[in-house]
Symmetry: C2
Subunit: 144 residues, 2 copies
């Protein structure tokens, strides 16, 4: 097995991404994506293609989660070449709903990156929760 190349640029990009989502800074967030982003997001649709469609989806998601929240990344693994990389990690998302109830779950994340005009951009991302084979319900109670 080739040892994964440590790529500080990708780690920095992932931290910028995490902070932009927490700050609901959609302009910083969208600046991280390639124009031809293909996203398999956790909710709503099979895929979102292109920045305009994905921006509208992110905007809606940010509107649906109004409170302060935690958004912690664990077990990050980055595999990198000079002009492309991929990464996967587990994300712990938590916050309070409209009635002040604490809600949280673990999600799985995979992302693909390419260097575009000297800048690393997210060209693909995949967020999900696993589901139960019998009931078809997403499994929000799982712990890593």
């Amino acid at each position: 097995m080739n040892a994964p190349i440590e790529n500080t640029d990708i780690h920095t990009l992932i931290q910028t991404y995490r902070k932009a989502v927490m700050a609901k800074d959609i302009d910083v967030l969208m600046g991280l994506y390639a124009d031809n982003i293909v996203s398999f997001d956790a909710v709503k649709a099979l895929q979102f293609k292109g920045k305009a469609a994905y921006r509208a989806h992110w905007q809606e998601c940010m509107t649906h989660c109004p409170g302060p929240h935690t958004f912690d990344f664990h077990q990050l693994n980055v595999v990198s070449a000079p002009d492309m990389a991929f990464a996967h990690w587990l994300a712990h998302c938590a916050g309070t709903d409209d009635e002040g109830q604490a809600k949280g779950c673990w999600m799985r994340v995979t992302a693909g990156y390419q260097r575009v005009g000297g800048h690393w951009r997210i060209v693909h991302e995949h967020w999900s929760a696993p589901f139960d084979m019998m009931s078809g319900a997403a499994l929000f109670e799982l712990q890593p």
Copy 2:
């Protein structure tokens, strides 16, 4: 944007993977994975780490889907460097249940690859269906 490098090896690996799943040939299938595979499968658990754990899971999945089935891959996109690659696609899975009822759904797939000892291996995969934000139910009726 750098143009994705066409990598015939990865396309061949993905076809071998598809055929091994359809043939329920677990030995061929498991031969495609790196020993340190980290899989975010669509069902049951947040992740499966290592070949032994993932083999047991695949064996269980194959047992739960006894009938003939379709397993078609669409919108495949591969991004590749000399020793690493990632790919994403939509998979249409269909078959008949115990009562002979046709069942089918679209899933999203992302995979990461590394060249290990001269051979390409799957080091990461992520299968999922999106879920409905309100009900938490997996969305099996979506069409691409």
